[in-house]
């Protein structure tokens, strides 16, 4: 089967290379994927515990291309959260790194390849899978919610094709992994590049490690993607002074980059004859919805651009009317074939069809200028992006209340969450708890003890009053 990628077409090309020099050609990606599928048999649900490693990608490509539904999860997901997800969705198999096998005592390994194992679970299949359902992804940043976004084959193929189109990708590209593959933005890089026969440079190493840059230079990486925080790190690394002749394109998504950094990288790109492409997207739209054409990067600083090919933006005011005047704020609504089917909260929901019909209210507040370029100016819902991960503030409050039974209100700005409590004795424990739940670096969180959580007469928390403590 070729649900998404025509691997046959590029059979002699290299699909994946890792930092240890292991190579997988498109032909191997196809044949080894088919081997793996033989051990699975019929269409079912497989949990894929992801790392930026060859085994993880080979499994993913094989599941998708052969019509097996897969849910991608970070391999470092807290064990309790994983158990909860397993109970809720009862997958037939788990594709996991070999060194994590002891986590699944009693499960039999039925296939092994590239340091990954296919474990057969003991659940009996209790629900059906909608025939267009391809993939389940968490809405980045998981605080234990069992909610998945349901993506179809059409969603993945349409969005990947659109990305190929606007980034002008071809088989000469060699993107290096900088984002987790279970994160929608990281995955979109894999999806789009495999469509054109490009070579993906696979590494779990990060920007702050020498091994990453050695691999980057030796393998001749042509592009990478980054969330706003990635660009702050690159700035700190005095990236502008590095000699990276192979680099062609830097993309940015996963939150709004500061105008200062936007300008710095746009200028760098211009001087070095490279491309800097600011983009906009959400897991609910498969990955991408907007992009700022690189030739406009410096001129339209602060903008996330225009709709991707095949997509359409509109702004809706509070009365549900379309906005036609520039510089007027409204909720951004996107239309396109990449708008996903809907959410799932348990295995029973996987039979559901398309609930959105190609239209997504993004929850982001935006404006457009006279030239039709869009600017994100705020959010409808209470969440922050921490290092590119969506973290729901109300959910954090609920979790803390559930664990400690104390008064709490969390607030903040992207990459900086402030957790307000009234009892000094809990300050450290609350922070440790949030860090363990989100698995994000503690630098993003601060507990602030105040006398009283500000509330109105009806008991609603006045979050605006809290801004004075950190703004």
């Amino acid at each position: 089967m070729n649900k998404i990628w025509n691997l046959e077409k590029y059979k002699d090309c290299e699909a994946l290379i890792d930092e240890n020099g292991n190579v997988v050609t498109y032909e191997q990606l196809k044949s080894q994927g088919e081997d793996l599928i033989k051990s699975i048999g019929e269409r079912c649900l497989v949990f894929c515990l992801c790392r930026n490693e060859i085994g993880s990608i080979v499994g993913y490509v094989s599941f998708i291309n052969n019509g097996v539904v897969t849910a991608l999860l970070n391999s470092h997901l807290e064990e309790k959260l994983l158990e909860n997800l397993l109970e809720k969705y009862k997958p037939s198999f788990i594709w996991a790194p070999e060194d994590q096998m002891n986590q699944f005592e009693g499960l039999e390994s039925v296939y092994e390849k590239y340091d990954y194992v296919l474990l057969k679970t003991n659940y009996s299949k209790e629900y059906s899978l909608y025939n267009e359902l391809a993939l389940l992804l968490t809405t980045s940043g998981s605080t234990g919610s069992p909610k998945f976004v349901r993506q179809s084959y059409t969603n993945i193929l349409d969005n990947a094709s659109s990305i190929v189109d606007y980034l002008k990708l071809d088989s000469s590209e060699r993107p290096i992994t900088t984002l987790p593959m279970n994160y929608t933005y990281g995955l979109s890089i894999i999806n789009s590049h495999l469509l054109v026969g490009a070579t993906i440079l696979v590494t779990d190493k990060g920007l702050m490690q020498k091994e990453f840059w050695n691999f980057f230079k030796e393998a001749g990486a042509t592009s990478f993607g980054g969330v706003p925080y990635t660009y702050e790190m690159l700035d700190k690394l005095r990236f502008y002074r590095m000699q990276l002749p192979s680099l062609r394109t830097m993309t940015q998504a996963g939150g709004k980059i500061t105008p200062e950094l936007h300008e710095k990288f746009a200028k760098y790109a211009e001087e070095q004859h490279k491309k800097f492409v600011v983009m906009y997207g959400q897991c609910e739209a498969t990955a991408r919805m907007g992009y700022l054409p690189p030739e406009k990067a410096a001129e339209k600083k602060g903008s996330m651009g225009i709709p991707i090919p095949g997509g359409k933006f509109t702004l809706i005011d509070v009365n549900g009317q379309g906005i036609t005047t520039p510089h007027t704020t409204g909720e951004l609504v996107y239309e396109g074939k990449n708008v996903t089917l809907g959410y799932a909260e348990s295995g029973e929901d996987l039979i559901e069809g398309d609930e959105r019909h190609g239209v997504l209210a993004t929850g982001d507040m935006a404006q457009f200028d006279e030239d039709g370029y869009y600017y994100i100016v705020g959010r409808k819902k209470r969440f922050l992006k921490i290092y590119g991960n969506r973290v729901n503030l109300d959910e954090i409050d609920r979790l803390i209340k559930g664990e400690f039974e104390i008064e709490v209100a969390s607030s903040g700005v992207d990459d900086h969450m402030y957790i307000f409590i009234t009892d000094t004795g809990f300050a450290d424990r609350v922070k440790d708890f949030v860090v363990s739940k989100t698995k994000l670096n503690p630098a993003a969180f601060k507990t602030i003890v105040i006398d009283e959580i500000p509330k109105n007469d009806s008991g609603k928390t006045l979050y605006k009053e809290l801004t004075k403590y950190y703004a």
């Binding site: 490690q209 790190m233 290092y387």
Partner: protein, 79 residues
């Protein structure tokens, strides 16, 4: 504060660790010393000693002991 205290303090502040954990501590030994934590640590050390690291030194710096060795290049001696 002497240089050793300043150096230790940078780790304790940015990585949420205790002084007793510092000897032999390597990148990714504790969850907080990931790429985000590393950036914070580098900034703390730069501020503490009023220096600016070269790119190669930032990515070479992968343990408590390695940092001491690198700082010698910037004429910061940690005894």
């Amino acid at each position: 504060m002497n240089n050793r205290e300043k150096y230790n303090n940078a780790f304790i502040e940015s990585l949420d660790v205790e002084e007793s954990q510092l000897a032999g501590l390597k990148y990714q030994d504790v969850p907080a010393w990931d790429s985000v934590g590393h950036m914070g640590l580098v900034s703390e050390i730069e501020d503490a000693f009023d220096i600016q690291f070269e790119t190669d030194d930032i990515v070479d710096f992968n343990s408590y002991e390695k940092g001491i060795e690198i700082l010698k290049k910037y004429s910061v001696v940690i005894e």
